[in-house]
């Protein structure tokens, strides 16, 4: 098992390239290749097992640290993809309420170049309502829901050229 994880980690390190990484990829793809949970456990995300008072053995921990560094959340797209995938339920809750810590964290990586945070939240909520009301939404796996939300958020993400909402 350790060998497999080490090989997976090495493969990911070898192939992980920040700039080309997020282009054209879904949230799930980004998460699998950059998210810690994805690298350790494949497509599922057993954060409960991973993040607790105890940590895993040296090999995977080292790989985790390296990988987090290589797939740096300098890119708002990578940050958003991983964050939405891992915290989907809470992000969904806070978007619905229009307020909350998990929404605040998300808006901190959005662009406020042309719109205020409140305007952005309003737009996201309106678009998200359409996603929720889609007939197949309830039957979707969480990763698919996270993908849908990520695609909705993506056009609003900040970049190096745009003012992040964290500066407003």
């Amino acid at each position: 098992m350790k060998k497999i994880l080490s090989l997976v980690s090495a493969f990911i390190l070898a192939t992980c390239s920040l700039t080309s990484f997020a282009e054209g990829r879904t949230a799930e793809q980004i998460y699998k290749e950059c998210g810690i949970g994805g690298a350790l456990f494949g497509s599922s995300s057993p954060l409960l097992a991973m993040i607790s008072n105890i940590t895993w053995d040296l090999g995977t921990t080292a790989a985790t640290s390296e990988m987090t560094d290589a797939c740096s959340v300098d890119s708002a797209e990578v940050a958003a993809a991983i964050y939405i995938h891992e915290a989907y339920d809470l992000v969904e809750t806070d978007i619905s309420k229009g307020n909350g810590q998990y929404l605040n964290a998300l808006t901190s990586i959005l662009s406020c170049e042309t719109k205020s945070v409140d305007q952005l939240i309003g737009e996201i909520r309106t678009e998200f309502a359409d996603v929720i009301d889609a007939s197949d939404y309830q039957g979707l796996e969480k990763s698919a829901k996270a993908n849908a939300l990520y695609e909705l958020i993506k056009p609003h993400l900040s970049s190096s050229d745009s003012a992040s909402c964290s500066l407003s």
Binding site: N53, T55, I109, R125
Partner: protein, 624 residues
């Protein structure tokens, strides 16, 4: 007489020899030495290289992995000196110095206060360190206490994290700030008894890890529903930089892990002792619980605490907001979340104005989120179906105007009570049968009457009692509570479907034969109910199933108890019966305890017992 020319030659030879000798002496005396430092700086250097204190019986380096130490000495005074010289030599190496300071930025920061280095050496070129640490955007550092969690034995006594708060963190609630954690490296699937044994006796190594803070929040607050207390630290620029630079140095290095002392709290306390230059964060405690770190900070380094914030768990906040609802809204809420609740209720028909409906739906949604994180997979489809409807309805209404989710639900900080370890002196009279004087020690003692914020609940570990008979003068091992946990759950008014059961378990040994150190082991598990009559009074009842070690048979034991607290006073009345299944024997016992808290860590009390064990006890307990 010597010819002048020969004299000149001898003089020249003498000067060359003497000169080189003097020169070499000068080179040797320019080697850095631990003796160059004032005593407190020598202590700081030893802390920086994690050398066990000189009074320790283990004068060896405590970082076990390769690459942290540059020299090979083992005795602590040699290693301190050799490590100092090796570090400075490396930093002054023309070819490797620049890279070396990136590997040991804390040593560089600290040593340049005392020694000269090439002015071109600067941490600004350490790109990976700068990026990882957020060195240039670090605002403050927080110490976070996470309350105990019964779902994991290692988490029962709480946990400690560090959080590196960035300037931008205020916009993201600090969710993308780095959280620093210290934990044991346990292989997956470890058996429980091995886990406990290795954890207690150093069978694991441990290291610091780091990730975005939101991942910790997802687990500790949203999944495990643990309260937290955040202590924002008041550190100057150098102290902050030294702390994060040292964390970088410790990245992926391992220590031996001991659950009772060299644990998460201890290792973080070492970091704080380093940057605060304070010897009192770790004192001579036999055990070091997470709460001990915070008690010591409050007592011995209060100036380093800028701010304290209570962070209630989502569950606590939800229950508090539920209590704020009008009674008719509570009934509607319970109907909607019950097993028979209609999945597709139209919330627009609720008799509420828009603001009330928004708050109501917010609470329903938060409760649904909380339930989703805690139920088994087979129960999720119904929750998800309801969730879709709630979310859809909520999105039609305007956003909430405040961060209501985490605001409600205040609680008493566990740090506000007594310290976790206890030593107890008592004298018991069995009314002429046998009077005994006892001393008991426990590394962790939170009992039902204790001031730890959870009235009625208990966590007691290794409470060991020795007693001395006034007549006869014999000393014996009287009693050991190996582990006693009592979890009292009160939810008043109750949210439908919430757990209302309290539970407890215990493993203890009692000396029933009057021998020196022979113990009969009892093991018990119980379920019960608890009711909070008002803020001061709690009543609860349990039914325990147990194995009675004295009679070597199984028993059933119902208990009813009441706990009353008012300021420094506390009273507990405990009535229990024990029915031994095989022999049919019944034992009844009534205990009444009165306790007075003299000061935060000192209590006096009396206990009257009647029944199987008639006795009167006076006691004095000191917490440390």
């Amino acid at each position: 007489m010597f010819p002048a020319s020969l004299f000149n030659i001898l003089l020249i030879v003498f000067l060359v020899l003497f000169g080189s000798l003097a020169s070499s002496n000068t080179s040797n005396s320019s080697l850095p030495s631990i003796n160059d430092f004032a005593s407190h700086d020598a202590v700081s250097w030893r802390r920086l290289i994690h050398l066990a204190p000189s009074s320790s019986s283990l004068p060896t380096p405590t970082v076990l992995s390769e690459g942290f130490y540059l020299s090979a000495g083992n005795l602590h005074h040699e290693l301190a000196e050799q490590e100092l010289q090796a570090t400075i030599s490396l930093f002054r190496d023309a070819d490797n110095g620049a890279q070396a300071i990136c590997r040991f930025p804390a040593r560089f920061l600290w040593l340049r206060q005392h020694y000269q280095f090439d002015p071109k050496l600067t941490l600004k070129h350490c790109a990976r360190f700068i990026e990882w640490s957020g060195f240039n955007s670090l605002d403050t550092i927080s110490l976070i206490f996470v309350s105990g969690y019964m779902g994991n034995p290692a988490s029962t006594f709480g946990h400690v994290l560090l959080k590196l708060n960035s300037n931008d963190g205020q916009y993201s609630n600090g969710f993308f700030d780095l959280a620093i954690n210290f934990g044991a490296r346990v292989p997956p699937g470890e058996a429980g008894h091995i886990y406990i044994t290795k954890g207690l006796f150093g069978g694991y190594t441990a290291s610091f890890t780091n990730e975005d803070y939101y991942r910790r929040d997802l687990v500790y607050t949203n999944s495990e529903q643990r309260d937290a207390v955040e202590y924002k630290l008041k550190l100057n620029e150098f102290q902050k930089q030294l702390l994060i630079a040292h964390l970088w140095e410790l990245n992926n290095h391992v220590f031996q892990y001991y659950f009772l002392r060299q644990n998460c709290a201890y290792r973080i306390a070492e970091l704080l002792e380093l940057v605060l230059e304070n010897d009192n964060i770790i004192r001579r405690e036999l055990s070091y619980a997470p709460a001990t770190l915070f008690h010591n900070m409050e007592q011995y380094a209060p100036a380093a605490i800028a701010d304290v914030t209570l962070i209630p768990s989502p569950k606590r906040s939800i229950f508090a907001r539920f209590q704020d609802l009008p009674k008719d809204h509570q009934q509607i809420f319970n109907q909607l979340v019950s097993a028979d609740g209609d999945v597709k209720t139209s919330y627009q028909t609720l008799d509420m104005n828009e603001e009330q409906r928004s708050r109501f739906l917010d609470l329903l949604l938060d409760y649904n989120t909380y339930r989703l994180a805690s139920v088994a997979d087979e129960d999720k489809p119904t929750l998800l179906a309801r969730r879709k409807v709630i979310v859809s309805e909520r999105l039609r209404l305007p956003p909430s105007d405040s961060l209501s989710a985490r605001v409600r639900g205040q609680f008493q900080s566990p740090i506000g009570g007594s310290r976790p370890s206890r030593i107890n002196l008592s004298h018991t009279s069995n009314y002429g049968i046998e009077d005994r004087t006892s001393i008991a020690f426990s590394p962790f003692y939170y009992d039902a009457l204790g001031q730890h914020g959870e009235s009625g609940s208990e966590i007691i570990m290794m409470n060991t009692e020795l007693s001395y008979a006034d007549k006869g003068g014999t000393i014996r091992l009287d009693h050991i509570d190996f582990l006693k946990i009592q979890r009292v759950n009160t939810t008043t008014p109750a949210i439908e479907r919430e757990k209302r059961f309290s539970w407890r378990l215990g493993l203890q040994g009692s000396n029933n034969k009057g021998c020196r150190a022979c113990l009969d082991l009892d093991f018990s598990m119980g379920l019960g109910r608890a009711f909070e009559l008002n803020k001061r009074m709690l009543v609860y009842g349990f039914v325990d199933a147990l194995y009675d070690g004295q009679y070597k048979e199984f028993a059933v034991s119902p208990t009813v108890a009441a706990v009353y607290s008012y300021r420094q006073f506390g009273v507990k009345v405990d009535l229990r019966s024990r029915y031994l299944v095989t022999s049919g024997r019944t034992e009844n016992q009534l205990d009444i305890e009165l306790r007075y808290r003299i000061e935060q860590n000192l209590e006096a009390g009396v206990v009257f017992g009647h029944g199987e064990n008639d006795r009167a006890t006076i006691k004095l307990a000191y917490y440390f």
